[in-house]
């Protein structure tokens, strides 16, 4: 059985319930948001730990706030990670399952490592007085998150090499069923996912300064310092990221001809624009926090572009074996597609309400009171959730009575 036939045989025979391009687009979008939060977590923890190593400095003062950011962003990273985890199994099922099973110990280990890392982050944040837990937990958390990153990286690379799977599965006299080995590691690719942690936290620091400035109790000198330090961190790390990106491109298989790919070249172009913008902020702006929004939006666009590039690259890798995401049988299921689409639109509205409350409340010192519009939005959000339950339950009752009787 050759690799192409193996991949065909492994594809789920039940097919996909909607057009695979939609799952692909959702996978890229949600992965971009997920990796942003992963980078925010890593960057926040790294700077929080660094700050504690430099007592009495602005970094030190910033440390508890960033430790708190890390605990919230890891939660966001986990929940946002569920979506690409789901969609990759829909359109790349043979790759996902085979790559995971070949290193199953590590797959389960990933879960344990993440729990330990998350718990340590909370101990670092809440463990001591004034949100200054033992520094050892900060190091431990950061180290474990990096280990989690190594595992995910290895699985992602293993996924791209179906021609090697059977070799990895063989042992003397039989099958290697322990799942105890990680089989692939690409330093350039790994660093390309890790270094942006510093860029993201740098831009976050600019945003942090912009956000807190209007508060009556704000220490403007400290916020100015935070924005400047963030701008520096973002620029220098983005520059390093550019170099690593070039290294990664050069390590790609030669027959991929990366310089001919509009996706890869477009991703590189976005990276260059990002570096240029950050250079302008770092060297040309007196108050980097004034550029927090443009920098954050450009970062979002760049990460989305990079996620698209990564997907385009994956399609080239798997295309070598004749695999495309369009190979599954298409068995359209409109009912469940409508269920998700409607829920998604409703969910965006409800989440926007929650975030608006958090945003406005945190920007004011003391107690904050919602205006009539926001109160109405809150009532509508609750109403939408109740309506969702009523519609789905109503549908369920009708279907149940029709099919199973009383």
């Amino acid at each position: 059985m050759d690799t192409a036939a193996m991949l065909k045989m492994l594809q789920d025979p039940m097919g996909v319930p909607f057009f695979p391009q939609v799952f692909d687009a959702l996978m890229v979008l949600t992965f971009a948001l997920h990796i942003l939060c992963v980078n925010l977590t890593l960057g926040a923890l790294a700077v929080a730990v660094w700050g504690r190593l430099r007592p009495g400095t602005g970094w030190d003062r910033l440390s508890p706030a960033l430790a708190r950011t890390a605990t919230a962003s890891v939660s966001a990273a986990i929940v946002l990670g569920v979506a690409p985890l789901l969609f990759v199994q829909v359109i790349y099922d043979p790759f996902w399952y085979a790559a995971n099973l070949l290193s199953a110990d590590w797959v389960i280990g990933f879960v344990l490592v993440m729990i330990a890392a998350f718990w340590s982050a909370y101990l670092f944040y809440l463990g001591g007085k004034e949100n200054r837990g033992p520094l050892a937990y900060g190091f431990l958390s950061l180290g474990l998150f990096v280990v989690a990153g190594v595992i995910m990286h290895a699985l992602s690379v293993q996924l791209l090499h179906p021609e090697k799977w059977l070799g990895w599965y063989q042992s003397v006299g039989g099958a290697e069923t322990s799942g105890s080995a990680l089989h692939a590691f690409e330093p350039a690719r790994f660093l390309h996912f890790m270094i942006p942690a510093l860029t993201v936290i740098g831009i976050y620091m600019m945003f942090y300064a912009w956000y807190l400035e209007p508060r009556a109790d704000a220490d403007r000198a400290h916020l100015d310092w935070t924005a400047k330090a963030g701008a520096g961190l973002a620029f220098w790390s983005a520059l390093a990221q550019g170099a690593v990106g070039a290294w990664w491109l050069l390590t790609l298989p030669k027959d991929f001809h990366f310089y001919r790919s509009p996706f890869l070249m477009g991703g590189a172009g976005l990276g260059i624009v990002m570096i240029a913008l950050l250079a302008h902020i770092r060297f040309g702006a007196k108050r980097p926090q004034a550029f927090a929004w443009p920098a954050a939006l450009m970062m979002l666009v760049t990460v989305l572009g990079m996620a698209t590039t990564r997907e385009a690259l994956r399609q080239v890798y798997v295309g070598v074996f004749g695999y495309t995401i369009h190979g599954h049988r298409l068995t359209l299921d409109w009912a469940s597609t409508v269920l998700f689409s409607g829920t998604f639109v409703m969910g965006v509205s409800v989440i926007a309400y929650q975030m608006s409350v958090a945003f406005l409340c945190g920007r004011k010192a003391g107690k904050w009171e919602a205006g009539p519009r926001l109160q109405a939005w809150g009532r509508i959000s609750i109403g939408l959730l109740i309506a969702w339950i009523a519609v789905v339950a109503g549908l369920g009752v009708v279907l149940t009575l029709r099919q199973h009787g009383l």
Binding site: M1, M9, L10, D12, P13, M14, P17, S75, A76, I78, V79, G81, V82, A83, L85, F87, Q89, V90, D93, Y97, A98, N100, L101, V107, V111, M114, F118, L166, Y169, G173, G174, A175, T177, S178, T331, D333, A335, S336, L339, F340, M346, G347, I351, Q354, M355, V357, A358, C361, G362, W368, E369, A370, Q375, G378, R379, S381, L395, L399, T400, Q403
Partner: protein, 436 residues
């Protein structure tokens, strides 16, 4: 058919069960706790009782840290463990229910964002807005249960899905409503149990008594109603599941399902009558009791759907054993019987594709890995270990074992052997060899 992950003494399936079991504790807390919070917060507002809000803050912090460190990661862990234990099974579910899970994910987003916003805005936003945040969280988190119950019950009773292949035909199946009612009422018991534990160390004595009494009442009502819902659930189980229940549910599992809720009710009755007696350790033991009851139920729920992972369609060992015309899928059994499992499965070392005198035991082990390892270990001890089971049959040689393999299809909870005669003889030889 993917590579096999062999976990000595446990099986990959038991690893999945362990992670899923651990997930129950935080996940049911996250769906239930906010209902108690909004009840207490409303009371605090109406009666101007700030001490109740102090408890709400304490309870919310516990939810935030416990439920969202362990709950979210073990939730993701179930996906990873299912990948390693039953990749084709989870793939089959995902290729049918991807939009269901994606819908649930939207509510997860509301839930996870919601707990942070709720906790960090306590005392910082006006009370009406804060209460709204609580309601949003409570509704969204319960809705995740509304969705996942459809997929969980599908795995036992797929309803008319087998004929139509439609999402909702499988989702609203015959065990959906009883199980939703059972889990919904149980979640109030769980909220009550956790609240007693948190309230046990709460400073304000008057508030502590009131919260313990309220939480205990919730727990008693939840346990009583979920027990009734369980009887409804049992009444609508298909005959095959009931037969499995009789054959596979051990006396220990049955006893825990009955006694755990009964003892928990007794504990909460005492707490309702004497709330000042609330202490942390007994409260944690009560949570443990409820947990053991749920664990037993979940184990039984898994056992009674054997030999299938998706009823009528896919065996526990992930061989597609039934036609699914609505999806254009045919059983793999005829082809496997014709070609041989070692030729059909992609992940087989080349020198084991054909059974020879030289590789018989190794080829037999390969067949065992593919067809038996999902449920059985090959060691002397562990989960359903094969060596003692083979000895128990009184087999005197591989021929006797092969006869048992021939008869597997007649045992209601066992998949039939799939493969050529040579592969069956090799499997028999291997099984006999490990039983000696």
């Amino acid at each position: 058919m993917y590579p096999i992950w062999e976990v000595p003494h446990l099986t990959a399936g038991l690893v999945l069960a362990l992670i899923a079991t651990i997930h129950i504790l935080p996940s049911h807390l996250s769906t239930s706790a906010m209902w108690l919070n909004v009840y207490l917060e409303r009371k605090s507002l109406k009666e101007n009782r700030p001490e109740l809000m102090a408890f709400v803050k304490r309870f919310s912090k516990m939810i935030l840290i416990f439920a969202y460190v362990f709950g979210s990661m073990t939730g993701v862990g179930i996906w990873f463990a299912a990948t390693t234990a039953a990749p084709r099974g989870i793939s089959g579910l995902i290729h049918n229910y991807v939009w269901g899970w994606a819908t649930e994910w939207v509510f997860f987003l509301i839930e996870v964002g919601g707990i942070y916003v709720y906790y960090y805005t306590i005392d910082k936003v006006d009370p009406k807005t804060h209460l709204k945040l609580g309601w949003i969280f409570a509704l969204a988190s319960w809705t995740t249960m509304v969705i996942i119950v459809g997929i969980l019950t599908f795995m036992l009773t797929p309803g008319h899905w087998a004929a139509t292949g439609n999402f909702f035909d499988g989702f609203f199946n015959q065990t959906y409503w009883p199980q939703l009612l059972m889990r919904t009422t149980a979640m109030f018991a769980i909220a009550g149990a956790y609240a007693v534990a948190v309230a046990a160390g709460f400073g304000d004595l008057k508030a502590r008594r009131e919260i313990v009494r309220t939480a205990s009442t919730w727990a008693i009502a939840g346990l009583a109603l979920s027990s009734l819902a369980f009887l409804w659930y049992r009444a609508v189980l298909p005959d095959a599941a009931l037969a499995n229940l009789a054959a596979l549910a051990t006396p220990g599992l049955r006893a825990v399902m009955v006694w755990a809720p009964a003892l928990a009710v007794a504990y909460f009755a005492v707490m309702a009558a004497k709330p000042s007696w609330a202490r942390l350790v007994p409260a944690l033991l009560a949570i443990g009791l409820i947990f053991s009851g749920i664990f037993s139920f979940e184990r039984v729920r898994e056992l009674i759907r054997k030999p299938f992972v998706i009823p009528g369609y896919m065996y526990s060992n992930q061989i597609i054993a039934g036609d699914l015309p609505a999806k254009g899928v045919q059983s793999e059994l005829p082809e496997i019987d014709r070609e041989g499992i070692l030729h059909y499965a992609p992940f087989v070392p080349p020198d084991l594709r054909d059974v020879t005198d030289a590789n018989r035991l190794r080829a037999g082990r390969m067949v065992a890995l593919i067809e038996c390892a999902a449920c059985h270990t090959f060691q002397e001890t562990g989960l359903r270990p094969l060596p003692p089971r083979i000895r128990k049959l009184g087999a005197t040689g591989p021929g006797d074992v092969a006869e048992v393999l021939d008869a597997l299809g007649a045992i209601p909870y066992m998949p039939q052997f799939a493969g050529t005669d040579a592969e069956k003889q090799a499997l028999a030889a291997y099984l006999f060899s490990i039983s000696k």
